[in-house]
Subunit: 194 residues, 2 copies
DNA sequence: TAACCTTCTTAATCAAGATTAAGTTTTTTG
DNA sequence: CAAAAAACTTAATCTTGATTAAGAAGGTTA
């Protein structure tokens, strides 16, 4: 079923009974998203958590000059949201859209809050998830503070080898924090592979 | 008592019974830390969570040229750790030391894991903590990708007005991601206040 | 108080990466 | 399939911020 990936991902950290699984499943909604379709934009208040089943989403901000800066790519098995907006229920600063045609599972925040009461084990799952994610952002921030653009590009390739293949260069640039022009120049200077 | 601040911070999100509080307290250790004293360094495996009661700590990395890049300042009421090392129990990349003479509470990771079993509500507390922290890092990363040094300095002042006063400029520079020389030049160009 | 260490400042030079502006190739879509 | 849109490339010029190298000022400690 469409929610297998989600259950499998949960099972890595906690084990749910049959009934608990059913309670969870009862609250899930499958949604198909077309490439470039927006699921969230600046100013919205996040009302749902998004879990990617197929395809790929991204979250990004748009600065005062209209340039995009990508915070996260979410391939299958990943969660994506404007966390600040979700947690504080205030207007977000991010956009979330689909990089490719994708399928996602939506959980309403109100349902999730209910689930935390009915299945306290889920608190554990999402604690672990948030802590792992936190560790990843700490690393990325250190990278951005201490590495050159070329080194950041190298890390991106190492960490997300499957992404690099079918992402437009432009988006990789917006993730590592350089202009598309500079990334292009950089890659053609060190032509690594043909 | 020395653990009042910690209990108050927990009480903001969950409520513990008398017995639960006692179980928690039983596991806490107070530690006094001298200015510049190291609590964690690159290569260590994080065995304890650190909660600041007084003074201020910081976490930072040292790059291949010997320059420091500050990930976090932790004034009273904040937690600080090398999250990656804590979660995965692998060698960390950060250093943690005291900016001023400080007092901290230490909780051993093994005790914390036991507490999660005995007091499941704590999962909730630390989930909320991690999610808030995550939201903060997402914002900071977006700032680093999209703002100029001057704008980042402005944000730092707005967000941590109490820190800016008694931090050496050098450390602010290492936090916002510029050299001390550049920050000095920047501040003397726009002399804001006398 | 002297010596030392750390921080801050200034200034000249340098480099990483941005900007602008084409032109080219690839992909999408009617 | 043709047209349009998006992505990529190249190159010249410009800017932000790094590097280097002093010296000055402030704090700390013997």
């Amino acid at each position: 079923m469409y929610y297998d990936l989600l259950l499998k991902s949960i099972a890595k950290h906690i084990s749910l009974t049959e009934e608990e699984e059913q309670m969870l499943i009862a609250v899930l909604a499958l949604k198909k998203v077309k490439k470039k379709q927006l699921l969230f934009q600046e100013g919205d208040i996040a009302k749902q958590a998004i879990f990617v089943i197929s395809g790929c989403l991204r979250s990004y901000s748009i600065d005062k000059n209209g340039f995009e800066h990508i915070l996260q790519f979410a391939p299958p098995g990943w969660w994506i949201s404007d966390m600040q907006s979700m947690v504080k229920q205030e207007p977000g600063i991010l956009y979330i859209d689909a990089v490719d045609d994708s399928e996602v599972i939506l959980i309403q925040k109100t349902d999730l809050d209910k689930l935390y009461r009915d299945i306290p084990k889920l608190e554990r799952f999402f604690r672990i998830l948030a802590e792992n994610s936190l560790a990843t952002y700490q690393h990325r921030l250190i990278d951005n503070l201490s590495l050159s653009a070329a080194e950041r590009y190298g890390n991106f390739c190492k960490r997300y080898p499957s992404l690099i293949e079918n992402l437009p260069q432009k988006q990789v640039a917006a993730y590592i924090g350089v202009t598309p022009e500079f990334l292009s120049k950089m890659l053609n200077k060190i032509p690594a592979k043909k």
